[in-house]
Amino acid sequence: MKSAVVLAPGLNRDRDMITALAQVSGQAPQTLWQTETTLPDGLDLIVIPGGFSFGDYLRCGAIAARMPVMRAVADAAERGVMVMGVCNGFQILVEAGLLPGALMRNTSLKFVSREVKLEVANANTAFTRRFEPNQVIRCPVAHHDGNYFADGETLARLEGEGQVAFRYAEGTNPNGSMNDIAGIVNDKGNVLGLMPHPENLIEAAHGGEDGRAIFESALAKVA
């Protein structure tokens, strides 16, 4: 798999993501600095990692959504390249219009860092096919603004079309997200936004490997 990780000032889980992709795919991902306007040929997966892009002093992800590299990412997504945004990456994809809805401040109004349970709400996407339907996995979250919101029509469409990929399970919704939504895919199914951090639960040293199958699914899609 040829993957790339977007780098921008303020993103801070880039190293975690690079390690995870290298471990799962056996191949180190390329990196894309935010000012680049063209992408390397033949990318299968572009990942926007977590962090606080440009400080997130405006709405989270609002500035990063307008960085030069995002136009190329949007074009790639249009061509069917897989794009995955985790945490701040999810917020950036939403702000860039690649995914619907919005991520608001947690209902607790506090940053929350803890392990939650996720239910695989659709095991039929490019990012979830290595899971069993409705499988419940562990996954850490670490965010201040993960409270997913969408208008009624959008929400109905997401639910109706199977675009909800992951849901907080067993009462562990940490942020007040509507319908316990933790991750969604776009209508074509090649863009995933996910609030939790699967890259921090992929090896024994992390205390589990539950996050691995997300990356393995993306790999399997390519293979």
Binding site: P9, G10, N12, R13, R15, D16, T19, A20, G51, F52, F54, G55, D56, Y57, K110, F111, V112, S113, R114, P140, A142, H144, H197, E199, N200, A205, H206
Partner: protein, 752 residues
């Protein structure tokens, strides 16, 4: 026209007459001012007075504490850099080293909790990456006033959010820390921030400038008026006018700091950096003087080149600003362009603001005028140093042997687990990112935070921050020893070999002989413990004048320690590992526990704060710790916890709660269970053995223990879902957890 007026305004400011009141308002005593006059042979300009006050205040000059700090052990075969640089550096083998320090941000955090705590975290992270290390772990030791004091909730909420807000955005995991409450912190909370980073031993960067005529480069964020005079403020007592000091608190920008980290590491890798110093307390003044003085060079600064974000800043303001996220460097001139490109990429300011000179003068130019011209070495070296009068603390009489107020063991345990000081800190640490970087092996809630060393299959570092202020109040010498010993013990409990420590000494007004007596005794205790345990102090910080309206805080010498695990697959954790394992109390006295004075049991259940703290036998401490570490290294146990606040009962409950596995510990016949279960005797560890209790292997362990002079009785066995202590009733582990988890959230929701 306007421009002219501004210039005039500045000139007036720099020629402002130096009155006695002006000198006093800079925190300088009349004899200290006389020292300045003698040193420079004339009256200082207003800017020069500001520079002296910045360099000679307690915070920067350590004038009251230096005499005592010199007595601390600071070297050892593992120590690469001891105190005196931005942070200490300790060898961890294979060409790697750990760089760490702890520093207080007490006064700012009381005035403006969010920004005060945030910039405390920012400052300590900068100290670490200034030396070329990428930060891998942070901790924070927080002390607040009584829970029912009207300001406490506001301070807890702001400080915790500030610590998280900065560390989370910067991208460093918070791996541990402390949160305690005591009325003595009502008017003066403590925020002690620790950071550690990893570097290569052949790529450590120092502040010593080398070479004449080289560019002095300003990097990072622009200079504003925030924090002007902050270090001087931190060197004075508080009174009711505290709110007026809000403008002396800086505002943090973790985004800029994260960019500064990446830019600095990139620049260091390029080979362009000769010397680097972060701008912390007293900003531009302190960093420039330090770089020059250490390198036996003069420094000339042109303030017109300093990037500013406010209009019409005076030389005085620029020299004393404590704006955050700024660095000063001496660069190789031939790599200037390369360096500039790196900083532009990260969106940071880059300006050549001066040069090194050979005249040992610190010269500051502004608007074509020389606003300061001072001898650079003397600014630092000739700072006043005091051997302040002190009174030895008086020893407290022990409690009478039959003075044991009674409470049922199970009742007492449940109350203590739900008390302010012993309840779960989940509410706090869930606001800190503990997952980032993906190397965390033990998160907050155990004895120590553990982080694996990137690039090594087996190596990991353990971190712990400790002090028991009520012990220090009752006996500063024993309390100082205990702070070091407990830190050493917590590292050992994971299986780590303790390497070195940093100290953050928080005390009251040193001009009071009884406070100075506390300080001196505590430092003596720390020194003695560090020597016996071969656990040198490699960095640190002193925070004095922690008083409000004449009321001092509890003496609080926080110790932050670092240990090395050679193989983390054999690490021990706090939770019981399995059912049916024999529990040994390694290092116990014959009656398991005996010392009740200064215990949490006495203070929180019986309102008693009389008597001496438990003494620490340092030789025994070391023997017991080394024995426990060997058990872990040999794979004989995966479950170890030191016994500290709350004694044996609380320690057992913590092991049960962390694992969901219960235990039965029958206690000793015909002995009062209160001291057994709640005594706070030192150098004790609970060790659940990975052994079948029936097969005789325990006999071998006991033989080894006996040969080492250690008593390690089998006090109980893991298993079931209840904790059963002595003859008291069984308590379900789920009930322990409910009690333990309840207090903090209810308190913050204003329900208790």
């Amino acid at each position: 026209m306007r421009r002219q007026n501004l210039t005039l305004d500045r000139m007036i400011q720099n020629t402002r007459p130096i009155t006695n009141e002006l000198v006093a308002s800079h925190g300088l005593k009349p004899d200290e001012y006389q020292r300045i006059l003698d040193l420079i042979g004339r009256e200082p300009s207003f800017t020069e007075l500001g520079i002296f006050s910045a360099m000679w205040n307690e915070h920067c000059s350590y004038k009251s504490s230096k005499r005592w700090l010199r007595t601390l052990p600071t070297s050892g075969p593992q120590v690469i850099q001891g105190p005196g640089e931005n942070a200490g550096v300790v060898d961890i083998g294979d060409g790697d080293c750990v760089v760490f320090k702890m520093e207080s941000h007490n006064h700012p955090s009381y005035i403006e909790p969010y920004q005060g705590a945030a910039t405390g975290v920012g400052g300590i992270l900068r100290d670490v990456f200034t030396m070329g290390a990428r930060p891998i772990a942070a901790m924070n030791a927080l002390r607040f006033g009584a829970p029912d004091h009207p300001k406490t909730r506001h301070l807890v909420s702001g400080v915790v959010a500030g610590v998280g807000g900065y560390g989370n955005a910067f991208g460093v995991p918070t791996v541990g820390g402390e949160v305690n409450f005591d009325p003595r912190y009502n008017g003066n909370c403590l925020v002690n921030a620790f950071a550690a980073g990893l570097a290569k031993t052949d790529a450590i960067f120092y502040s010593k400038a080398e070479g004449v005529g080289l560019p002095v480069v300003y990097l990072g964020a622009k200079t504003g008026r925030d924090g002007v005079g902050g270090a001087t403020m931190a060197s004075a007592e508080f009174d009711e006018k505290i709110e007026e000091k809000r403008p002396t608190v800086q505002v943090g920008d973790p985004f800029t700091e994260k960019c500064l980290l990446e830019a600095c590491l990139e620049l260091m890798a390029s080979g362009a950096v000769i010397a680097i110093q972060d701008m912390g307390a007293a900003g531009l003044t302190c960093s420039a003087v330090e770089m020059g003085a250490k390198g036996d060079l003069g420094i000339e600064l042109d303030l017109d080149k300093v990037p500013v974000r406010e209009e019409a800043m005076t030389a005085y303001e620029m020299m004393l600003s404590e704006s955050q996220e700024r660095m000063l460097m001496v660069l190789r001139p031939e790599q200037e362009e390369e360096a500039q490109a790196i900083f532009r990429k990260w969106g940071l300011d880059f300006a050549i603001v001066g040069k090194t000179t050979d005249d040992l003068r610190f010269r500051v130019m502004h608007q074509g005028e020389e606003v300061a011209n001072l001898p650079i070495k003397q600014l630092g070296d000739e700072a006043p140093e005091y051997d302040r009068p002190l009174v030895e603390p008086t020893a407290r009489a022990p409690l009478a042997p039959d003075d044991i107020p009674q409470t049922d063991v199970a009742d007492a345990l449940l109350k203590l687990l739900a008390s302010p000081d012993l309840s779960s800190r989940r509410w706090v640490y869930e606001q800190y990112d503990t997952y980032i970087q993906g190397n965390g092996l033990q998160r907050p809630g155990g004895d120590a935070g553990v982080v694996r060393v990137e690039g090594h299959a087996k190596k990991a570092l353990a971190f712990s921050s400790d002090v028991t202020p009520r012990y220090c109040e009752a006996d500063p010498f024993e309390g100082g020893k205990q702070a070091v010993a407990e830190c050493w013990r917590n590292l050992t409990a994971t299986g780590a070999l303790p390497l070195a420590a940093t100290d953050n000494l928080n005390f009251g007004n040193p001009e009071k002989p009884e406070i100075m007596g506390q300080f001196a005794a505590a430092v003596k205790g720390i020194g003695e413990a560090c020597r016996t345990l071969e656990f040198p102090i490699v960095s640190g910080n002193v925070s004095l004048y922690n008083e409000t309206n004449g009321q001092a805080i509890l003496p609080t010498p926080t110790i932050g320690g670092v240990g090395l695990l050679s193989d983390w697959s054999r690490m021990a954790r706090i939770g019981f590992a399995a059912e049916n394992q024999p529990i040994l109390l390694v290092g116990a006295p014959r009656q398991w526990g005996s010392h009740l004075a200064q215990s949490i049991y006495m203070r929180d259940l019986h309102g008693r704060t009389d008597g001496p703290p438990p003494p620490v036998d340092l030789a025994q401490e070391r023997k017991v710790g080394d024995f426990v570490r060997r058990l872990i290294e040999r794979g004989l146990t995966r479950s170890v916890h030191d016994v500290s606040d709350g004694g044996l009962a609380v320690a057992l409950a913590e092991m049960a709660m962390a694992s969901g596995i219960g235990a039965a510990v029958p206690g000793l016949e015909d002995i009062d269970p209160v001291p057994v279960f709640f005594g706070e005797d030192q150098n004790r560890y609970l060790v659940a053995m990975d052994l079948d209790p029936q097969d005789g292997a325990l006999e071998d362990i006991w033989r080894e223990a006996e040969e080492a002079g250690i008593f390690a009785p089998w006090i109980g066995t893991t298993g079931g879902s209840d904790l059963k202590l002595g003859h008291s009733r069984r308590v379900a582990v789920s009930d322990l957890i409910a009690a333990h988890e309840s207090w903090f959230p209810s308190f913050m929701e204003n329900e208790v």
